[in-house]
Protein backbone atom coordinates (compact mmCIF):
# COMPACT_ATOMS: atom_id res chain seq x y z
CA UNK A 1 0.00 0.00 0.00
CA UNK A 2 1.36 3.40 -0.99
CA UNK A 3 1.60 6.09 1.66
CA UNK A 4 0.08 8.92 -0.36
CA UNK A 5 -1.00 10.02 -3.79
CA UNK A 6 2.51 11.11 -4.78
CA UNK A 7 3.86 7.71 -5.70
CA UNK A 8 5.46 6.28 -8.80
CA UNK A 9 2.31 4.58 -10.02
CA UNK A 10 0.44 7.87 -10.09
CA UNK A 11 3.34 9.26 -12.06
CA UNK A 12 3.26 6.34 -14.51
CA UNK A 13 -0.43 6.89 -15.08
CA UNK A 14 -0.02 10.59 -15.70
CA UNK A 15 2.67 9.72 -18.19
CA UNK A 16 0.48 7.12 -19.91
CA UNK A 17 -2.42 9.51 -20.23
CA UNK A 18 -0.22 12.33 -21.47
CA UNK A 19 1.38 10.11 -24.11
CA UNK A 20 -2.02 8.89 -25.25
CA UNK A 21 -3.28 12.43 -25.54
CA UNK A 22 -0.21 13.54 -27.46
CA UNK A 23 -0.60 10.59 -29.80
CA UNK A 24 -4.17 11.64 -30.62
CA UNK A 25 -3.13 15.25 -31.16
CA UNK A 26 -0.23 14.07 -33.30
CA UNK A 27 -2.53 11.97 -35.47
CA UNK A 28 -4.85 14.94 -35.85
CA UNK A 29 -2.15 17.35 -36.90
CA UNK A 30 -0.72 14.75 -39.30
CA UNK A 31 -4.19 14.75 -40.86
CA UNK A 32 -4.58 11.02 -40.31
CA UNK A 33 -7.36 11.43 -37.77
CA UNK A 34 -9.77 13.41 -39.93
CA UNK A 35 -12.88 15.21 -38.73
CA UNK A 36 -15.05 12.15 -39.28
CA UNK A 37 -12.80 9.96 -37.15
CA UNK A 38 -12.57 12.70 -34.55
CA UNK A 39 -16.33 12.73 -34.25
CA UNK A 40 -16.25 8.98 -33.67
CA UNK A 41 -13.61 9.51 -31.02
CA UNK A 42 -15.92 11.98 -29.28
CA UNK A 43 -18.71 9.42 -29.32
CA UNK A 44 -16.40 6.75 -27.91
CA UNK A 45 -15.48 9.15 -25.11
CA UNK A 46 -19.12 9.81 -24.27
CA UNK A 47 -19.82 6.09 -24.35
CA UNK A 48 -16.96 5.46 -21.92
CA UNK A 49 -18.44 7.93 -19.43
CA UNK A 50 -21.92 6.40 -19.76
CA UNK A 51 -20.63 2.85 -19.49
CA UNK A 52 -18.37 3.55 -16.51
CA UNK A 53 -21.44 4.79 -14.68
CA UNK A 54 -23.43 1.71 -15.60
CA UNK A 55 -20.53 -0.58 -14.72
CA UNK A 56 -20.52 0.88 -11.21
CA UNK A 57 -24.16 -0.09 -10.84
CA UNK A 58 -24.19 -3.44 -12.66
CA UNK A 59 -20.62 -4.71 -12.72
CA UNK A 60 -19.47 -3.61 -9.29
CA UNK A 61 -22.57 -3.44 -7.12
CA UNK A 62 -24.46 -6.07 -9.12
CA UNK A 63 -27.69 -4.13 -9.49
CA UNK A 64 -29.25 -4.82 -12.86
CA UNK A 65 -30.34 -1.45 -14.25
CA UNK A 66 -31.93 -0.88 -17.65
CA UNK A 67 -32.86 2.74 -17.10
CA UNK A 68 -29.52 4.41 -17.78
CA UNK A 69 -30.81 6.34 -20.79
CA UNK A 70 -33.31 8.15 -18.56
CA UNK A 71 -30.54 9.74 -16.50
CA UNK A 72 -28.60 10.46 -19.66
CA UNK A 73 -31.67 12.29 -20.96
CA UNK A 74 -31.89 14.42 -17.82
CA UNK A 75 -28.25 15.45 -18.25
CA UNK A 76 -28.67 16.13 -21.95
CA UNK A 77 -31.77 18.28 -21.55
CA UNK A 78 -30.39 20.15 -18.53
CA UNK A 79 -27.34 21.11 -20.53
CA UNK A 80 -29.35 21.94 -23.64
CA UNK A 81 -31.76 24.20 -21.75
CA UNK A 82 -29.05 25.88 -19.66
CA UNK A 83 -26.99 26.58 -22.76
CA UNK A 84 -29.91 28.58 -24.17
CA UNK A 85 -29.49 31.06 -21.33
CA UNK A 86 -25.81 30.88 -20.50
CA UNK A 87 -23.40 30.60 -23.41
CA UNK A 88 -20.06 28.90 -23.57
CA UNK A 89 -18.29 26.51 -21.32
CA UNK A 90 -19.72 28.10 -18.15
CA UNK A 91 -23.16 27.26 -19.47
CA UNK A 92 -22.18 23.66 -20.07
CA UNK A 93 -20.68 23.27 -16.61
CA UNK A 94 -23.70 24.92 -15.01
CA UNK A 95 -26.01 22.70 -17.06
CA UNK A 96 -24.05 19.64 -16.00
CA UNK A 97 -24.31 20.61 -12.36
CA UNK A 98 -28.05 21.22 -12.64
CA UNK A 99 -28.41 17.90 -14.48
CA UNK A 100 -26.38 16.07 -11.85
CA UNK A 101 -28.49 17.58 -9.09
CA UNK A 102 -31.80 16.58 -10.69
CA UNK A 103 -30.42 13.16 -11.55
CA UNK A 104 -29.14 12.58 -8.04
CA UNK A 105 -32.50 13.57 -6.59
CA UNK A 106 -34.46 11.29 -8.92
CA UNK A 107 -32.00 8.41 -8.57
CA UNK A 108 -32.31 8.73 -4.80
CA UNK A 109 -36.09 8.83 -4.79
CA UNK A 110 -36.29 5.94 -7.24
CA UNK A 111 -33.38 3.93 -5.92
CA UNK A 112 -34.45 3.84 -2.30
CA UNK A 113 -37.59 1.79 -2.92
CA UNK A 114 -36.66 0.08 -6.19
CA UNK A 115 -33.25 -1.26 -5.18
CA UNK A 116 -34.98 -3.63 -2.77
CA UNK A 117 -35.93 -5.62 -5.87
CA UNK A 118 -33.58 -8.26 -7.18
CA UNK A 119 -32.26 -9.31 -10.58
CA UNK A 120 -34.75 -9.30 -13.40
CA UNK A 121 -37.40 -7.52 -11.35
CA UNK A 122 -35.01 -4.67 -10.70
CA UNK A 123 -34.13 -4.59 -14.41
CA UNK A 124 -37.73 -4.22 -15.49
CA UNK A 125 -38.48 -1.64 -12.77
CA UNK A 126 -35.51 0.52 -13.77
CA UNK A 127 -36.49 0.11 -17.40
CA UNK A 128 -39.89 1.45 -16.41
CA UNK A 129 -38.32 4.43 -14.64
CA UNK A 130 -36.19 5.21 -17.68
CA UNK A 131 -39.23 5.12 -19.94
CA UNK A 132 -41.25 7.27 -17.54
CA UNK A 133 -38.49 9.90 -17.56
CA UNK A 134 -38.49 9.84 -21.36
CA UNK A 135 -42.27 10.11 -21.61
CA UNK A 136 -42.31 13.05 -19.18
CA UNK A 137 -39.69 14.83 -21.26
CA UNK A 138 -41.79 14.06 -24.33
CA UNK A 139 -44.72 15.90 -22.78
CA UNK A 140 -43.11 18.92 -21.14
CA UNK A 141 -43.04 22.38 -22.70
CA UNK A 142 -39.62 23.28 -21.34
CA UNK A 143 -38.12 20.31 -23.22
CA UNK A 144 -40.08 21.25 -26.35
CA UNK A 145 -41.95 17.93 -26.43
CA UNK A 146 -41.33 15.55 -29.33
CA UNK A 147 -39.47 18.11 -31.45
CA UNK A 148 -36.67 18.30 -28.91
CA UNK A 149 -34.09 21.07 -28.72
CA UNK A 150 -31.99 22.07 -31.71
CA UNK A 151 -29.00 24.33 -32.22
CA UNK A 152 -27.40 23.61 -28.90
CA UNK A 153 -24.02 25.29 -28.51
CA UNK A 154 -21.38 22.97 -29.95
CA UNK A 155 -18.69 23.02 -27.29
CA UNK A 156 -17.41 19.47 -27.56
CA UNK A 157 -13.81 19.08 -28.55
CA UNK A 158 -11.23 16.35 -28.18
CA UNK A 159 -9.58 18.00 -25.14
CA UNK A 160 -12.91 18.63 -23.41
CA UNK A 161 -14.23 15.09 -23.83
CA UNK A 162 -10.82 13.63 -23.10
CA UNK A 163 -10.69 15.61 -19.86
CA UNK A 164 -14.08 14.35 -18.76
CA UNK A 165 -13.23 10.77 -19.67
CA UNK A 166 -10.09 10.92 -17.56
CA UNK A 167 -12.04 12.44 -14.72
CA UNK A 168 -14.66 9.70 -14.95
CA UNK A 169 -11.99 6.99 -15.01
CA UNK A 170 -10.27 8.50 -11.96
CA UNK A 171 -13.38 8.81 -9.84
CA UNK A 172 -14.74 5.38 -10.72
CA UNK A 173 -11.48 3.57 -10.20
CA UNK A 174 -10.82 5.44 -6.95
CA UNK A 175 -14.28 4.49 -5.82
CA UNK A 176 -13.79 0.86 -6.76
CA UNK A 177 -10.49 0.65 -4.91
CA UNK A 178 -11.78 2.02 -1.61
CA UNK A 179 -13.71 0.74 1.37
CA UNK A 180 -16.86 1.98 -0.36
CA UNK A 181 -16.05 0.03 -3.50
CA UNK A 182 -15.27 -3.06 -1.44
CA UNK A 183 -18.65 -2.74 0.23
CA UNK A 184 -20.34 -2.54 -3.18
CA UNK A 185 -18.41 -5.55 -4.50
CA UNK A 186 -19.33 -7.53 -1.42
CA UNK A 187 -23.00 -6.78 -2.08
CA UNK A 188 -22.63 -8.18 -5.59
CA UNK A 189 -20.86 -11.24 -4.20
CA UNK A 190 -23.36 -12.04 -1.48
CA UNK A 191 -25.84 -9.53 -0.20
CA UNK A 192 -26.81 -11.48 2.90
CA UNK A 193 -23.23 -12.07 3.98
CA UNK A 194 -22.43 -8.45 3.24
CA UNK A 195 -25.14 -7.24 5.58
CA UNK A 196 -24.01 -9.74 8.21
CA UNK A 197 -20.52 -8.22 7.99
CA UNK A 198 -21.91 -4.85 9.00
CA UNK A 199 -22.35 -3.36 5.53
CA UNK A 200 -25.35 -1.06 5.24
CA UNK A 201 -26.48 -2.64 1.99
CA UNK A 202 -29.19 -0.13 1.11
CA UNK A 203 -26.85 2.79 1.64
CA UNK A 204 -24.19 1.47 -0.72
CA UNK A 205 -26.67 0.31 -3.34
CA UNK A 206 -28.27 3.74 -3.44
CA UNK A 207 -24.87 5.42 -3.37
CA UNK A 208 -23.54 3.56 -6.39
CA UNK A 209 -26.88 3.95 -8.14
CA UNK A 210 -26.76 7.74 -7.73
CA UNK A 211 -23.08 7.86 -8.63
CA UNK A 212 -23.65 5.86 -11.81
CA UNK A 213 -26.69 7.94 -12.70
CA UNK A 214 -24.72 11.18 -12.32
CA UNK A 215 -22.09 9.86 -14.71
CA UNK A 216 -24.90 9.04 -17.14
CA UNK A 217 -26.17 12.60 -16.84
CA UNK A 218 -22.68 13.94 -17.59
CA UNK A 219 -22.50 11.66 -20.60
CA UNK A 220 -25.86 13.02 -21.70
CA UNK A 221 -24.75 16.64 -21.32
CA UNK A 222 -21.66 16.01 -23.43
CA UNK A 223 -23.82 14.18 -25.96
CA UNK A 224 -26.06 17.24 -26.24
CA UNK A 225 -23.21 19.64 -26.85
CA UNK A 226 -21.52 17.24 -29.29
CA UNK A 227 -24.53 16.65 -31.55
CA UNK A 228 -26.21 20.00 -30.95
CA UNK A 229 -29.61 18.34 -30.88
CA UNK A 230 -31.58 16.30 -28.34
CA UNK A 231 -34.87 14.52 -28.88
CA UNK A 232 -36.77 12.17 -26.55
CA UNK A 233 -36.42 9.23 -28.94
CA UNK A 234 -32.62 9.28 -28.53
CA UNK A 235 -33.00 8.14 -24.94
CA UNK A 236 -35.08 5.01 -25.23
CA UNK A 237 -34.35 1.48 -24.17
CA UNK A 238 -31.98 1.05 -27.12
CA UNK A 239 -29.61 3.63 -25.67
CA UNK A 240 -29.59 1.84 -22.30
CA UNK A 241 -28.90 -1.41 -24.10
CA UNK A 242 -26.04 0.08 -26.14
CA UNK A 243 -24.38 1.11 -22.90
CA UNK A 244 -25.07 -2.25 -21.30
CA UNK A 245 -23.45 -4.02 -24.25
CA UNK A 246 -20.26 -2.01 -23.70
CA UNK A 247 -20.17 -2.99 -20.03
CA UNK A 248 -20.75 -6.69 -20.62
CA UNK A 249 -18.52 -6.84 -23.69
CA UNK A 250 -15.69 -5.27 -21.70
CA UNK A 251 -16.18 -7.50 -18.69
CA UNK A 252 -18.52 -6.89 -15.76
CA UNK A 253 -16.85 -4.84 -13.10
CA UNK A 254 -13.71 -4.20 -15.13
CA UNK A 255 -13.25 -0.48 -15.72
CA UNK A 256 -10.36 -1.26 -18.06
CA UNK A 257 -12.72 -3.51 -19.97
CA UNK A 258 -15.27 -0.73 -20.31
CA UNK A 259 -12.73 1.61 -21.85
CA UNK A 260 -11.39 -1.07 -24.20
CA UNK A 261 -14.86 -2.24 -25.20
CA UNK A 262 -16.05 1.29 -25.97
CA UNK A 263 -13.11 1.65 -28.36
CA UNK A 264 -13.56 -1.84 -29.81
CA UNK A 265 -17.27 -1.39 -30.46
CA UNK A 266 -16.66 2.09 -31.88
CA UNK A 267 -14.16 0.63 -34.31
CA UNK A 268 -16.38 -2.35 -35.20
CA UNK A 269 -19.19 0.07 -35.99
CA UNK A 270 -16.86 2.14 -38.11
CA UNK A 271 -15.68 -0.89 -40.08
CA UNK A 272 -19.23 -2.08 -40.66
CA UNK A 273 -20.39 1.39 -41.80
CA UNK A 274 -19.80 0.86 -45.55
CA UNK A 275 -21.98 -2.26 -45.53
CA UNK A 276 -25.17 -0.23 -45.28
CA UNK A 277 -28.18 -2.13 -44.02
CA UNK A 278 -26.34 -5.43 -43.63
CA UNK A 279 -24.33 -3.69 -40.92
CA UNK A 280 -26.90 -4.22 -38.20
CA UNK A 281 -27.36 -7.87 -39.16
CA UNK A 282 -23.63 -8.48 -38.81
CA UNK A 283 -23.51 -6.46 -35.60
CA UNK A 284 -26.30 -8.55 -34.13
CA UNK A 285 -24.58 -11.78 -35.13
CA UNK A 286 -21.31 -10.55 -33.67
CA UNK A 287 -23.08 -9.71 -30.43
CA UNK A 288 -24.56 -13.21 -30.15
CA UNK A 289 -21.23 -14.85 -31.02
CA UNK A 290 -19.33 -12.76 -28.46
CA UNK A 291 -21.77 -13.67 -25.71
CA UNK A 292 -21.60 -17.37 -26.59
CA UNK A 293 -17.83 -17.59 -26.97
CA UNK A 294 -16.66 -14.94 -24.55
CA UNK A 295 -19.33 -14.53 -21.90
CA UNK A 296 -16.91 -12.95 -19.43
CA UNK A 297 -16.19 -10.16 -21.88
CA UNK A 298 -12.89 -9.05 -23.33
CA UNK A 299 -11.20 -8.41 -20.02
CA UNK A 300 -13.01 -10.59 -17.50
CA UNK A 301 -12.33 -8.95 -14.18
CA UNK A 302 -8.88 -7.73 -15.17
CA UNK A 303 -7.82 -4.17 -14.41
CA UNK A 304 -4.83 -2.47 -16.01
CA UNK A 305 -2.33 -1.67 -13.31
CA UNK A 306 1.22 -0.37 -13.31
CA UNK A 307 1.72 -1.90 -9.93
CA UNK A 308 1.11 -5.41 -11.24
CA UNK A 309 2.93 -4.79 -14.47
CA UNK A 310 6.06 -6.87 -14.80
CA UNK A 311 8.15 -7.05 -17.92
CA UNK A 312 9.25 -10.60 -17.43
CA UNK A 313 5.82 -11.92 -16.60
CA UNK A 314 3.56 -11.03 -19.48
CA UNK A 315 0.48 -12.64 -17.95
CA UNK A 316 -0.90 -10.26 -15.37
CA UNK A 317 -2.47 -11.27 -12.14
CA UNK A 318 -6.21 -11.70 -12.53
CA UNK A 319 -9.16 -11.02 -10.34
CA UNK A 320 -7.74 -8.77 -7.70
CA UNK A 321 -9.80 -6.00 -6.31
CA UNK A 322 -7.20 -3.98 -4.66
CA UNK A 323 -4.43 -2.96 -6.96
Amino acid sequence: MEKNIFNKYTFYWILTVALFYLAIQGLISANILRAYYQSILLLIGINIILALGLNLIIGITGQFSLGHAGYMAIGAYSAAITLKYVNGIQGLILGMLIGALITALIAFLVGLPVLRLKGDYLAIATLGVGEIIRIIILNLDITNKAAGINNIDRLASIPLIFGFVILAVIVTSNFKRSALGRACISIFQDEIASEAMGINVTRYKVMSFIFGAILASFGGALFATTYSVVRPEFFGLNQSIDTLVIVVFGGMGSLTGTVVAAFALGIINLLLQPLGDTRMILYAMALIAIMIFRPKGLMGSFEASWKNFKLRKPKLAHGKVNE
Binding site: Y121, G128, I135, V248, M252, I288, M291, P295
Partner: protein, 293 residues
Protein backbone atom coordinates in the same frame (compact mmCIF):
# COMPACT_ATOMS: atom_id res chain seq x y z
CA UNK B 1 -71.41 4.20 -19.10
CA UNK B 2 -71.73 3.25 -22.76
CA UNK B 3 -68.40 4.87 -23.45
CA UNK B 4 -66.85 3.00 -20.56
CA UNK B 5 -68.15 -0.35 -21.81
CA UNK B 6 -66.94 0.49 -25.30
CA UNK B 7 -63.47 1.13 -23.87
CA UNK B 8 -63.58 -2.18 -22.06
CA UNK B 9 -64.47 -3.97 -25.30
CA UNK B 10 -61.56 -2.26 -27.08
CA UNK B 11 -59.30 -2.98 -24.12
CA UNK B 12 -60.18 -6.65 -24.23
CA UNK B 13 -58.95 -7.04 -27.79
CA UNK B 14 -55.73 -5.16 -27.09
CA UNK B 15 -55.38 -7.13 -23.87
CA UNK B 16 -55.73 -10.46 -25.70
CA UNK B 17 -52.80 -9.49 -27.89
CA UNK B 18 -50.66 -8.60 -24.89
CA UNK B 19 -51.76 -11.75 -23.10
CA UNK B 20 -50.80 -13.97 -26.04
CA UNK B 21 -47.32 -12.44 -26.21
CA UNK B 22 -46.96 -12.42 -22.43
CA UNK B 23 -47.66 -16.15 -22.29
CA UNK B 24 -44.53 -16.89 -24.33
CA UNK B 25 -42.46 -14.59 -22.14
CA UNK B 26 -43.73 -16.22 -19.02
CA UNK B 27 -43.34 -19.80 -20.23
CA UNK B 28 -39.75 -19.27 -21.35
CA UNK B 29 -38.90 -17.43 -18.16
CA UNK B 30 -40.56 -20.11 -16.08
CA UNK B 31 -38.53 -22.84 -17.67
CA UNK B 32 -35.05 -21.34 -18.20
CA UNK B 33 -35.22 -18.01 -16.31
CA UNK B 34 -34.40 -16.08 -19.47
CA UNK B 35 -35.96 -12.73 -20.33
CA UNK B 36 -36.34 -13.49 -23.99
CA UNK B 37 -36.11 -9.97 -25.32
CA UNK B 38 -36.48 -11.31 -28.85
CA UNK B 39 -39.95 -12.53 -28.04
CA UNK B 40 -41.62 -9.34 -29.28
CA UNK B 41 -39.93 -10.02 -32.59
CA UNK B 42 -41.54 -13.44 -32.80
CA UNK B 43 -44.80 -11.55 -32.82
CA UNK B 44 -43.44 -9.38 -35.62
CA UNK B 45 -42.35 -12.50 -37.53
CA UNK B 46 -45.83 -13.90 -37.08
CA UNK B 47 -47.30 -10.77 -38.63
CA UNK B 48 -44.97 -11.08 -41.63
CA UNK B 49 -45.58 -14.81 -42.11
CA UNK B 50 -49.28 -14.04 -41.93
CA UNK B 51 -48.82 -11.28 -44.48
CA UNK B 52 -47.06 -13.67 -46.85
CA UNK B 53 -49.67 -16.37 -46.36
CA UNK B 54 -52.60 -14.04 -46.96
CA UNK B 55 -51.35 -11.68 -49.66
CA UNK B 56 -48.88 -13.85 -51.57
CA UNK B 57 -50.20 -17.35 -51.06
CA UNK B 58 -53.77 -15.98 -51.07
CA UNK B 59 -54.84 -18.25 -48.24
CA UNK B 60 -57.84 -17.76 -45.98
CA UNK B 61 -57.47 -16.54 -42.41
CA UNK B 62 -57.60 -19.89 -40.64
CA UNK B 63 -55.02 -21.78 -42.74
CA UNK B 64 -52.84 -18.66 -42.65
CA UNK B 65 -53.04 -18.68 -38.87
CA UNK B 66 -51.97 -22.32 -38.71
CA UNK B 67 -49.11 -21.88 -41.17
CA UNK B 68 -47.91 -18.72 -39.41
CA UNK B 69 -47.90 -20.36 -36.01
CA UNK B 70 -46.06 -23.40 -37.32
CA UNK B 71 -43.42 -21.41 -39.20
CA UNK B 72 -42.75 -19.10 -36.25
CA UNK B 73 -42.59 -22.05 -33.88
CA UNK B 74 -39.86 -23.60 -36.04
CA UNK B 75 -37.88 -20.35 -35.98
CA UNK B 76 -38.37 -20.19 -32.22
CA UNK B 77 -36.88 -23.66 -31.85
CA UNK B 78 -33.95 -22.73 -34.09
CA UNK B 79 -33.19 -19.60 -32.08
CA UNK B 80 -33.18 -21.57 -28.86
CA UNK B 81 -30.91 -24.26 -30.33
CA UNK B 82 -28.39 -21.87 -31.86
CA UNK B 83 -28.30 -18.87 -29.57
CA UNK B 84 -29.69 -19.76 -26.16
CA UNK B 85 -28.72 -23.36 -25.57
CA UNK B 86 -24.96 -22.67 -25.35
CA UNK B 87 -25.72 -20.07 -22.67
CA UNK B 88 -27.89 -22.12 -20.40
CA UNK B 89 -25.46 -21.84 -17.50
CA UNK B 90 -24.25 -18.33 -18.09
CA UNK B 91 -25.19 -15.22 -16.12
CA UNK B 92 -28.50 -13.46 -16.60
CA UNK B 93 -26.94 -10.38 -18.13
CA UNK B 94 -25.09 -12.38 -20.77
CA UNK B 95 -28.24 -14.29 -21.70
CA UNK B 96 -30.18 -11.03 -21.83
CA UNK B 97 -27.68 -9.44 -24.20
CA UNK B 98 -27.76 -12.50 -26.42
CA UNK B 99 -31.52 -12.20 -26.55
CA UNK B 100 -31.12 -8.54 -27.49
CA UNK B 101 -28.70 -9.62 -30.22
CA UNK B 102 -31.29 -12.09 -31.54
CA UNK B 103 -33.88 -9.31 -31.45
CA UNK B 104 -31.65 -7.00 -33.53
CA UNK B 105 -30.93 -9.85 -35.91
CA UNK B 106 -34.60 -10.61 -36.52
CA UNK B 107 -35.58 -6.96 -36.95
CA UNK B 108 -32.80 -6.20 -39.37
CA UNK B 109 -33.12 -9.41 -41.32
CA UNK B 110 -36.83 -8.82 -41.87
CA UNK B 111 -36.10 -5.21 -42.80
CA UNK B 112 -33.53 -6.39 -45.31
CA UNK B 113 -35.76 -9.04 -46.88
CA UNK B 114 -39.16 -7.36 -46.72
CA UNK B 115 -38.17 -3.70 -46.66
CA UNK B 116 -38.44 -1.18 -43.84
CA UNK B 117 -41.66 0.38 -45.04
CA UNK B 118 -45.05 -0.37 -43.52
CA UNK B 119 -46.93 -3.18 -45.21
CA UNK B 120 -50.71 -3.47 -45.26
CA UNK B 121 -52.87 -6.52 -45.07
CA UNK B 122 -55.72 -6.62 -47.57
CA UNK B 123 -58.75 -4.96 -46.01
CA UNK B 124 -61.00 -7.89 -46.87
CA UNK B 125 -59.08 -10.61 -45.04
CA UNK B 126 -61.98 -10.78 -42.66
CA UNK B 127 -65.49 -9.47 -43.23
CA UNK B 128 -65.98 -6.02 -41.73
CA UNK B 129 -69.14 -6.95 -39.89
CA UNK B 130 -70.08 -4.81 -36.89
CA UNK B 131 -72.77 -5.13 -34.25
CA UNK B 132 -74.38 -2.46 -32.11
CA UNK B 133 -75.41 -3.73 -28.72
CA UNK B 134 -76.81 -1.14 -26.30
CA UNK B 135 -74.86 1.50 -28.14
CA UNK B 136 -71.57 -0.41 -27.95
CA UNK B 137 -69.87 -1.13 -31.24
CA UNK B 138 -68.33 -4.56 -31.56
CA UNK B 139 -66.56 -5.55 -34.74
CA UNK B 140 -66.19 -9.07 -36.04
CA UNK B 141 -62.41 -8.59 -35.99
CA UNK B 142 -62.47 -7.79 -32.30
CA UNK B 143 -64.57 -10.85 -31.70
CA UNK B 144 -62.19 -13.03 -33.71
CA UNK B 145 -59.19 -11.69 -31.82
CA UNK B 146 -60.83 -12.38 -28.50
CA UNK B 147 -62.13 -15.82 -29.48
CA UNK B 148 -58.82 -16.90 -31.02
CA UNK B 149 -56.94 -15.70 -27.96
CA UNK B 150 -59.28 -17.42 -25.54
CA UNK B 151 -59.28 -20.67 -27.52
CA UNK B 152 -55.47 -20.68 -27.61
CA UNK B 153 -55.23 -19.92 -23.90
CA UNK B 154 -57.65 -22.72 -23.05
CA UNK B 155 -55.70 -25.07 -25.30
CA UNK B 156 -52.45 -24.05 -23.61
CA UNK B 157 -53.90 -24.54 -20.14
CA UNK B 158 -55.14 -27.99 -21.11
CA UNK B 159 -51.73 -28.92 -22.54
CA UNK B 160 -49.85 -27.69 -19.50
CA UNK B 161 -52.22 -29.07 -16.88
CA UNK B 162 -53.63 -32.25 -18.38
CA UNK B 163 -51.06 -33.84 -20.68
CA UNK B 164 -47.88 -35.76 -20.09
CA UNK B 165 -45.84 -33.15 -21.94
CA UNK B 166 -47.39 -30.45 -19.83
CA UNK B 167 -46.44 -32.29 -16.69
CA UNK B 168 -42.89 -32.59 -17.99
CA UNK B 169 -42.85 -28.85 -18.67
CA UNK B 170 -43.95 -28.11 -15.15
CA UNK B 171 -41.37 -30.50 -13.78
CA UNK B 172 -38.54 -28.86 -15.74
CA UNK B 173 -39.69 -25.44 -14.55
CA UNK B 174 -39.44 -26.53 -10.92
CA UNK B 175 -36.13 -28.38 -11.15
CA UNK B 176 -34.50 -29.18 -14.48
CA UNK B 177 -31.84 -31.46 -12.98
CA UNK B 178 -34.33 -33.52 -11.04
CA UNK B 179 -36.54 -33.73 -14.12
CA UNK B 180 -33.59 -35.04 -16.13
CA UNK B 181 -32.95 -37.71 -13.50
CA UNK B 182 -36.59 -38.74 -13.79
CA UNK B 183 -36.02 -39.48 -17.45
CA UNK B 184 -37.44 -36.29 -18.94
CA UNK B 185 -35.65 -35.03 -22.03
CA UNK B 186 -35.10 -31.50 -20.78
CA UNK B 187 -33.74 -30.17 -24.07
CA UNK B 188 -36.82 -31.29 -25.95
CA UNK B 189 -39.11 -29.80 -23.36
CA UNK B 190 -37.31 -26.47 -23.57
CA UNK B 191 -37.56 -26.57 -27.37
CA UNK B 192 -41.24 -27.31 -27.08
CA UNK B 193 -41.71 -24.39 -24.72
CA UNK B 194 -40.06 -22.06 -27.22
CA UNK B 195 -42.21 -23.52 -29.99
CA UNK B 196 -45.45 -22.97 -28.10
CA UNK B 197 -44.44 -19.49 -26.91
CA UNK B 198 -43.41 -18.44 -30.42
CA UNK B 199 -46.58 -19.85 -31.95
CA UNK B 200 -48.73 -17.87 -29.50
CA UNK B 201 -46.80 -14.68 -30.26
CA UNK B 202 -47.18 -15.40 -33.98
CA UNK B 203 -50.93 -15.73 -33.53
CA UNK B 204 -50.93 -12.32 -31.84
CA UNK B 205 -48.91 -10.96 -34.77
CA UNK B 206 -51.27 -12.10 -37.48
CA UNK B 207 -54.29 -10.94 -35.47
CA UNK B 208 -52.81 -7.48 -35.11
CA UNK B 209 -51.93 -7.41 -38.79
CA UNK B 210 -55.50 -8.22 -39.72
CA UNK B 211 -56.91 -5.78 -37.15
CA UNK B 212 -54.77 -2.72 -37.85
CA UNK B 213 -53.83 -3.55 -41.46
CA UNK B 214 -50.30 -2.36 -40.96
CA UNK B 215 -47.07 -4.13 -40.06
CA UNK B 216 -43.41 -3.14 -39.98
CA UNK B 217 -40.12 -4.73 -38.84
CA UNK B 218 -39.99 -2.74 -35.59
CA UNK B 219 -43.60 -3.41 -34.63
CA UNK B 220 -42.56 -5.98 -32.02
CA UNK B 221 -40.59 -3.67 -29.75
CA UNK B 222 -43.35 -1.77 -27.97
CA UNK B 223 -45.89 -4.61 -27.61
CA UNK B 224 -43.04 -6.94 -26.64
CA UNK B 225 -42.10 -4.59 -23.81
CA UNK B 226 -45.72 -4.20 -22.76
CA UNK B 227 -46.23 -7.94 -22.81
CA UNK B 228 -43.14 -8.38 -20.67
CA UNK B 229 -44.54 -5.84 -18.25
CA UNK B 230 -47.79 -7.83 -18.31
CA UNK B 231 -45.93 -11.06 -17.53
CA UNK B 232 -44.05 -9.50 -14.60
CA UNK B 233 -47.21 -7.77 -13.45
CA UNK B 234 -49.09 -11.06 -13.21
CA UNK B 235 -46.15 -12.91 -11.73
CA UNK B 236 -43.53 -14.04 -14.21
CA UNK B 237 -43.45 -17.78 -14.83
CA UNK B 238 -47.13 -18.14 -13.98
CA UNK B 239 -49.44 -18.78 -16.93
CA UNK B 240 -52.71 -17.39 -15.52
CA UNK B 241 -50.67 -14.41 -14.31
CA UNK B 242 -49.68 -13.57 -17.88
CA UNK B 243 -53.30 -13.67 -18.98
CA UNK B 244 -54.45 -11.43 -16.14
CA UNK B 245 -51.48 -9.12 -16.69
CA UNK B 246 -52.16 -8.89 -20.42
CA UNK B 247 -55.81 -8.00 -20.01
CA UNK B 248 -55.12 -5.58 -17.14
CA UNK B 249 -52.53 -3.68 -19.15
CA UNK B 250 -54.60 -3.67 -22.32
CA UNK B 251 -57.68 -2.33 -20.57
CA UNK B 252 -55.70 0.19 -18.48
CA UNK B 253 -54.06 1.55 -21.60
CA UNK B 254 -57.31 1.97 -23.47
CA UNK B 255 -59.03 3.58 -20.49
CA UNK B 256 -56.21 6.09 -19.98
CA UNK B 257 -56.19 6.98 -23.66
CA UNK B 258 -59.97 7.29 -23.66
CA UNK B 259 -60.38 9.39 -20.55
CA UNK B 260 -57.16 11.30 -20.30
CA UNK B 261 -54.33 11.37 -22.77
CA UNK B 262 -52.71 8.70 -24.86
CA UNK B 263 -49.39 10.51 -24.35
CA UNK B 264 -49.14 9.33 -20.78
CA UNK B 265 -50.54 5.84 -21.15
CA UNK B 266 -47.15 4.15 -21.28
CA UNK B 267 -45.89 6.13 -18.28
CA UNK B 268 -48.93 5.06 -16.28
CA UNK B 269 -48.47 1.43 -17.29
CA UNK B 270 -44.86 1.50 -16.12
CA UNK B 271 -45.83 3.35 -12.96
CA UNK B 272 -48.40 0.68 -12.24
CA UNK B 273 -45.79 -2.01 -12.82
CA UNK B 274 -43.33 -0.42 -10.41
CA UNK B 275 -46.07 0.00 -7.84
CA UNK B 276 -47.07 -3.67 -8.09
CA UNK B 277 -43.45 -4.79 -7.84
CA UNK B 278 -42.87 -2.70 -4.74
CA UNK B 279 -46.01 -3.89 -3.01
CA UNK B 280 -45.76 -7.48 -4.19
CA UNK B 281 -42.28 -8.02 -5.65
CA UNK B 282 -43.11 -11.28 -7.37
CA UNK B 283 -46.15 -9.98 -9.22
CA UNK B 284 -49.86 -10.34 -8.67
CA UNK B 285 -50.02 -14.14 -8.51
CA UNK B 286 -46.40 -14.81 -7.62
CA UNK B 287 -45.32 -16.29 -4.35
CA UNK B 288 -42.89 -14.14 -2.42
CA UNK B 289 -39.76 -16.15 -1.95
CA UNK B 290 -37.11 -14.95 0.41
CA UNK B 291 -33.64 -16.28 -0.12
CA UNK B 292 -32.94 -19.05 2.34
CA UNK B 293 -30.28 -18.13 4.84
Amino acid sequence: MTQFLQQIVNGLSLGSIYALIALGYTMVYGIIKLINFAHGDMYMLGAYFGFIAITILKLDFLPSLVITMTATAIIGIMIERIAYRPLRHSTRVVALITAIGVSFLLQNSVAKIMGVSIKGFPMDTLPTQTWHIFGIVITLKQLIILVTAVVLMVLLTVIVQKTKVGRAMRAVAVDADAARLMGINVDNIISLTFAIGSALAAAAGILVGVYYNSIDPLMGIAPGLKAFVAAVFGGIGIIPGAMIGGFTIGITEVLISGYWSSMFKDAIVYGLLIFVLLVKPSGLLGKNRKEKV
